[in-house]
Symmetry: C2
Subunit: 278 residues, 2 copies
């Protein structure tokens, strides 16, 4: 989950806006980082990994499964999501993990604590992402890795070109900007890492897509977005910032429902990814 | 090379605009198709593959290397590029290949000739891509595969945000549209395949990025674009369509040179990919 999202209504149950987040795993959301974690694990099975902005913890839990002799710590700004993350770990039978409340700007750890410090769709939502990267570098051991994967919302492409899907795109970009975020985060990751003090030679950049390219994935996507438009915290924020009316949100939800039924439907976006070798 | 590009000035030498095209291989431009070709080759080593819009032939040649007991045919609308493609094959020592002139709208082959029929960055440039896909399906055997990978130019993201790079983006989209192409091809591939007569169950959609994310790749990219802006057929077309002045093109080339030197530079784009099982 991103920093600053609304609390889960029931501990151990996902909030409406988490439907889409909880399909995320290390495999589908951090593939760029896996070979590095694998090689570090071979050198040291007792690897420690910090997942910043862990939200519901699905990515953190899958990392914990990948380093069974290591330990994962998940941190989120929102204390109300922590029971859900702990429930996700428990349901998966994962014990080498803990979740704590904390801000990416002031991580509650000493210098050089973790071998790997990573985040996913966190920097895109915050005002000074280079400060977050500097803090992530601080808590990472020398020889360790800082990793971030962030969407580039302006690369989102949707088909068919239904008018209310374009309006939804503008709503999401507006929400991100109104909240102090950067819709074009993906393309700016290297510039942010440099601003955080990394040298060019320490940084490896890559890109990978997020896409909803099968009927079942489209259904999950549509349901998740409809939940958010009809009752999640996104809707509340959008109303607060005056970014649309209740009727607009209903029309957008209806457009996503139509989209999910279309044989020619497609949705994809580029994510930027950086590995910073400390 | 795309359909309808300008001739090579010297047979056996790449034209200016091919600098970027000739780094393309099956591995970096058709990874979505390789597992399918591999499994088909295991069932039948004598696989036949048609590469439509083969241009300088680098992708065709790398396919021929992957199916040494099979045969690759490369077709391009432009007869002047064929000597370059043959030279590329000869330099690679590849003999199980031939290149012919032909249009994707009227391929010079009988029905059900090839096991695999593929194209790369061809449908994005032409007026009725569904007719091209129908023709590609016609020449493909039952049980065979039609494959296409096409950019979605509106997903292109560049950093830093230099003004003349934005102007270049508009120039390229304008050129594609003026030439009858579709800058948002990638997201429309499934709709085009359906229009060509394929059933939804026959189509597999995926996305992958093209990116220039290392200093050496950025240098190749910048040099290729500068060559095109300062002397290639793209410049001639842009002048013909009134899409910019000579001064504009020089400023764009200077912006790409600046971009290539920047430590924070990045460029990426999404490509749509379809496999159609016949």
């Amino acid at each position: 989950m991103e920093q600053g999202q609304a609390p889960s209504e029931k501990p151990g149950r996902p909030p409406a806006q988490s439907t889409l987040h909880e399909v995320r795993t290390a495999e589908n959301s951090a593939a760029y980082l896996l070979p590095k974690v694998q090689s570090m694990k071979e050198a040291n099975p007792h690897l420690t990994l910090l997942d910043v902005g862990a939200g519901s913890g699905t990515i953190s839990v899958s990392f914990a499964q990948l380093i069974p002799d290591g330990h994962v710590t998940g941190v989120d700004l929102n204390p109300d999501i922590l029971p859900r993350a702990r429930a996700v770990a428990e349901m998966a039978g994962v014990e080498n993990i803990d979740f704590q409340q904390g801000s990416v700007y002031k991580l509650p750890f000493a210098d050089e604590t973790f071998d790997v410090t990573c985040c996913h769709q966190v920097l895109i939502h915050i005002g000074t992402p280079w400060d977050a990267l500097r803090e992530m570098l601080r808590v990472t051991k020398r020889g360790g890795i800082v990793a971030a994967r962030e969407g580039d919302y302006e690369t989102e492409c949707v088909w068919p070109d239904l008018p209310y899907l374009s309006k939804f795109h503008k709503l999401m970009a507006g929400l991100m900007s109104a909240g102090g975020g950067t819709p074009t985060a993906g393309r700016q990751l290297v510039s942010w890492a440099l601003k955080a003090g990394a040298e060019p030679s320490q940084i490896t950049l890559s890109y990978s897509p997020s896409s909803y390219d099968t009927p079942s994935r489209r259904k999950i996507c549509s349901q998740g977005l409809c939940d958010q438009l009809r009752g999640g915290s996104m809707r509340a924020k959008a109303l607060k910032f005056g970014l649309g009316s209740e009727d607009d949100f209903e029309q957008m939800a209806a457009a996503w429902e139509e989209w999910a039924k279309r044989d020619d439907a497609s949705l994809a976006m580029l994510n930027g990814e950086i590995l910073v070798q400390k």
